[in-house]
Subunit: 312 residues, 4 copies
């Protein structure tokens, strides 16, 4: 599999991890999900991220999942290797690169505060995984409590040749994209890919600001793909029309923590992709009322986008 470069663009879904009701990894569902993503014409797949419940997997499980997904698709597969220490990060990164991952994603530990601490952390991380492994910088203050200014991101990009992409999920974040693209234009930072996360909540404007696509876990990646394409084709109103039709549900899905994941897994189950919507603990299930709310929201999307119609 070719290594990830800063030319990556389009939609790279963040994959949830399917479990059986007894908590074991569900390989059949994993295969169906991989095939589903391929069918949705995405540009890559990210596994073992926060949404993928990576911290709840042990090392062997994580490697097995990577091996299975990588073995089933020719799409570039990015693997989250965030870990409490560099030894575990290195082990996982080297191992998944050997079996064909296209790159890795690294989130900062929530104890980092000063600019220098953040920059130093990524310097150490690159030293640990090796400078030959392309990595994605994850900037998600809402979950990780680490605040990176555009200037800090520029320092990390400049120091580390292997940083090929920013997973952008600051909130608010539109001006950050504009600032980073400004750095490229004024020559103070080399080009990197910017794919947005945060559930896609601002994708409509983020692509207009210069983002190259989405790297998030929305349960209908088909919509993300279309919005990115419509925007690229200059069909602005149509992009917003489609996005807006999904937004009431997208907002519901993007609730933080185990609830947002529960919604996504429920929809993946309803879509026939997952056998079970089980999470590993600490977990949360949807109440009957929440499920009815999701169903209602999807039925409303389906008036415009039939792909949101659930099987009965």
């Amino acid at each position: 599999m070719p290594a990830l470069t800063s030319d990556i663009r389009g939609v790279v879904p963040i994959a949830p991890t399917p479990f059986l009701d007894d908590g074991r990894v569900d390989e059949a569902s994993l295969d169906r999900m991989t095939d589903f993503f391929v069918g949705a014409e995405v540009d890559g797949i990210t596994i073992l991220g926060q949404l993928g419940e990576a911290p709840k997997l042990d090392h062997a499980e994580g490697v097995a999942i990577a091996r299975r997904v990588i073995g089933r698709t020719s799409l570039p597969v990015v693997v989250g290797v965030s870990a409490p220490g560099f030894a575990a990060m290195r082990s996982l990164a080297r191992e998944v690169m050997e079996i064909g991952a296209a790159g890795v994603m690294i989130a900062p530990p929530n104890t980092l505060r000063t600019d220098d601490q953040i920059v130093g952390y990524y310097r150490n991380a690159v030293e640990a995984i090796g400078p030959d492994v392309p990595f994605i910088l994850q900037d998600y203050p809402l979950t990780f409590s680490v605040q990176m200014t555009p200037a800090v991101i520029r320092r990390i990009v400049s120091e580390n040749e292997s940083c090929v992409m920013l997973k952008h999920e600051d909130w608010p974040g539109l001006e950050k994209i504009t600032a980073l693209r400004g750095f490229e234009r004024d020559g103070s930072m080399r080009h990197i890919a910017i794919l947005v996360g945060n559930g896609g909540l601002f994708l409509d404007f983020e692509v207009e600001r210069g983002a190259d696509g989405a790297n998030t876990g929305y349960a209908f990646p088909e919509m993300l793909v279309d919005v990115v394409k419509l925007n690229a084709a200059g069909r602005r109103d149509e992009a917003h029309d489609l996005f807006d039709a999904h937004l009431p549900y997208l907002r519901y899905e993007q609730q933080q923590g185990p609830l947002g994941l529960a919604v996504r897994k429920y929809v993946f189950k309803r879509r026939g992709i997952f056998t079970s919507d089980a999470q590993r603990k600490p977990s949360m299930g949807l109440t009957a009322q929440a499920k009815a709310e999701v169903d209602y929201l999807l039925s409303r999307i389906a008036r415009v986008d039939p792909r949101a119609r659930l099987p009965a």
Copy 2:
């Protein structure tokens, strides 16, 4: 003015504070805003909240604003009295109640952690302001970093007769409303009003879950009023249709911190309510691109709801 009770329902906007470009409080705009809220048929007004830049006002300014708004309307006016200590909280609460406030709102300091610390804080606050002053409990973890479980809210309500309302802005928060209404049904907690905040991002479902209305700073309170009424009338689809038409902009406005406030002030200026969209420092202005995005979003709402059409 009659004191606030747990019967309050409907829409109580959180008012921003208008400043002139030189930073002084803008009294003419304050009057226009008060009249605008009355015209929008809201059920009360909350001033000096977080959105009202209350921490950036000194004591005399805060009291002057309260006096002016209270003097101009017969609607119940709630005054935010959150303060770093109980002496300042008491001074402000006693003073505004004397000039006719209907009640006060108290947010927790962001250093509280354990259940007992939170409950103890409100016990002390009530002792400071006096048990005769009706107060609203503000539960906004995203901004204040204080997490109150339903059981903690029940303890606060049970200990303090003067707690008449919850300003609910937890996120996710739907199940919290359901849990609190369940406490009422099973007799373990007396009834309090629940009005929702968080920019109204989940108002459509929150009223279905049992919320009595909204207590938030959305720049088109007319929409909030309508959604609450449509829901009360059992016209569910219409409520969602109207809400969904606003959601793309509502989401944009609800960006955290000074940016969200900048959007609201910009729209209040465009609607002819505010003379200036100035904030006190630390502040943030909108870039030309952000303004264009807001204009675009409002023009899209206006296709459905003409009230969102801005004067040229």
Copy 3:
């Protein structure tokens, strides 16, 4: 009273605020405390700091305390003006400077994270209080959760001519003093005074590293004065001998939060300075066992330093 300059050195105690049992400010004790500090041959007094329960005072009370202390001594008096917003900070700063304060102290709000946020905050603060008011930068991560690197402190000092002193209470903090003094030596930062806080827990080595003295609330400022003088005189072992005799109690006193303050107020009461050891809420009293522990510790110091002997 002459304005504070970067030449300040020696010991500037952080004063607690004496209250009567009913919560009112105790002016007689305030006078006794002022006289006590003068008698202890300190070099200034800081009032209305965190230890002085400043957030629990309203504006008028704070000003009255400042007026009383300033009126009773010719020592430079520094006033804490930290506030949730710049309007209140400005009001207090201008008012206390007019009645003769030598300067003000400003702590950062606990929401600051990035380097730029911290530097920007002090820029705005100086703009608010005016560039003619000398100020002390308080660096206390343990309490304020704000982490300032030496480079950030250098930026603040360089941007703001009126920054005359660092109240240093980082922990660990010895290398920070060395770094800042290194900046002075290499010409990258002008000289500022560095007085240490953190209860004096590392005063013995901090003065050896280049600190100019102490700015902390230890209940025996006489010891701090002696240690600073012994160190200045090159009598290292004697400085440590005296410091070490006090350390078991000093450590006990330096427990964080209301407990540490309760210990100090108890000792001030036992020393005949305060009438009451009352705190305003949220407060904490000492248990009988804690008082006995303090008494025991002081009796042990008294074997070496008779000033620690309490009246029966």
Copy 4:
């Protein structure tokens, strides 16, 4: 090896992990350290804690260290199994128990806030490792930002039969010990062992309050052993005399983060136990001045306690 029970008492050092200068685990030093602890007459050894740089080890390294220490001593060995998720915690716990660990230690993740979240976390953890594995509850707010009230600890102890000990490192913490022992006396909580951490900074009074000993990384565990014994023998003044002689250095060693660890590793190297004082990254070395400060402090202890005399 017999399982840990609530009868554990005395001193159980928290072991640092020795690395060679190239970052590999140093097995020879590991053996010397194990032998050193045995010679110091401690009552057990805790490995793979925070101080042992556990998050910087990968799974295989952690197990290898456990195997080596357990194989070399008949003392009970406790293994830290804190992990970002329960799968990794379970893997490590089951594996080390099989090779003879006496129990495990579990620290809370720094994202827990409410009482229920904390209690729920330990319920899930016990479910993961199995109810047959004795565990130590680590309560260290300064490092983990999780605040457990005595009532929360009681809930955890009551729900989980396998909780045999509290590693107490709250600060301030004396009243917490008194509260927990009060729960035992009033019959509302069964007895558990309480061993104190926090570098031993309050050991002198903690044992008087009812702690059963120390579970901390002080570089002279011999002193901890003596203080616990002197206190048990009712020789209070002698206990304090010995403790106070060490306190100036103990305070220096107890500086938070990598610095405190650097001090301990430096002393272990000087004492001939470790070959290198290397830390894995993120790491910190001691400056020459810091080393000189440590040497000075130890030379001062050595006047009273010759065990602190370093080889030349």
